[in-house]
Assembly symmetry: C2
Homo-oligomer: 155 residues x 2
């Protein structure tokens, strides 16, 4: 079709859509008492999960070195979102667990994302939004955690 938009618009719109949602999420999180939460933190805490994990395991999940995962954990610890404790059954391991504050971020994020999704539905229509999600699922990989965001874009 000659009236199709140029192909480079599609990736930009996808990224901008992502960026808009994440920015609005964090603006709202800041209003709700979590001004220090950064985009990365939500993903990392989701990867940590309710059961907890270790630095090595987290690194594998996120696709970064254990040292990088360790540094991220330190940051989250300083913010009070996670805490570390020795594993009694393997004293080498240190289990990283979400604090109530960390869980609170995840709970609020889930609710905010639902609200943002509803706002999009109000703009483009409920059916169209469902179609958009269905279509995106067809062209994206099923595994959702290996974002590899850090450094991937860099020069």
């Amino acid at each position: 079709m000659s009236n199709d938009p140029p192909g480079f618009e599609l990736p930009l719109r996808l990224f901008l859509g992502f960026r808009v949602l994440i920015d609005e999420l964090h603006a709202e999180l800041a209003r709700q008492g979590h001004p220090h939460a950064r985009p990365m933190h939500g993903f990392v805490m989701q990867a940590i999960g309710i059961e907890g994990t270790t630095a090595v395991e987290l690194g594998r999940t996120l696709g970064v070195s254990k040292q990088a995962a360790g540094k991220t954990i330190e940051t989250l610890e300083r913010l009070g979102y996670v805490e570390r404790a020795r594993d009694p059954r393997d004293t080498r391991r240190k289990i990283v667990r979400l604090t109530p504050s960390g869980v609170d971020v995840l709970v609020r994020s889930a609710r905010i994302f639902d609200e943002l999704r509803a706002r999009w539905a109000a703009v483009i229509g409920d059916e169209r939004l469902r179609e958009l999600e269905t279509d995106l699922r067809k062209v994206t990989p099923p595994d959702v955690f290996r974002l590899d965001v850090p450094g991937w874009f860099g020069a």
Copy 2:
């Protein structure tokens, strides 16, 4: 609706869609003789444009400091994608211009993006893809250049 997906899936799908397109672009660019092109470079070269620009101007366009823009320009210069020359009418300024190799990257990128878009159209349907783009335009800002990708996601 109770059978709506959780709201957090939407941003992930948007980002994964972006990532898939960019990754495939650069795999193809590498095959076509540009193995060193990185995701950022395309955006930066697009921002430089055919007419050329300066470090200060580029920094403003991209939303980074002039020093950061200068370093990116150095990298592109080392890769042979841009070259610098003094502006005869203002000897303070150094005009950054795309080399034929840099233009080649942009031309090939445009063609590859069109092909990738066609591939998506084959998967989800031509009409649905147009709707997807239309819908995304409604929920994203019109200005497309201030991606602010570097550092934005960071901890």
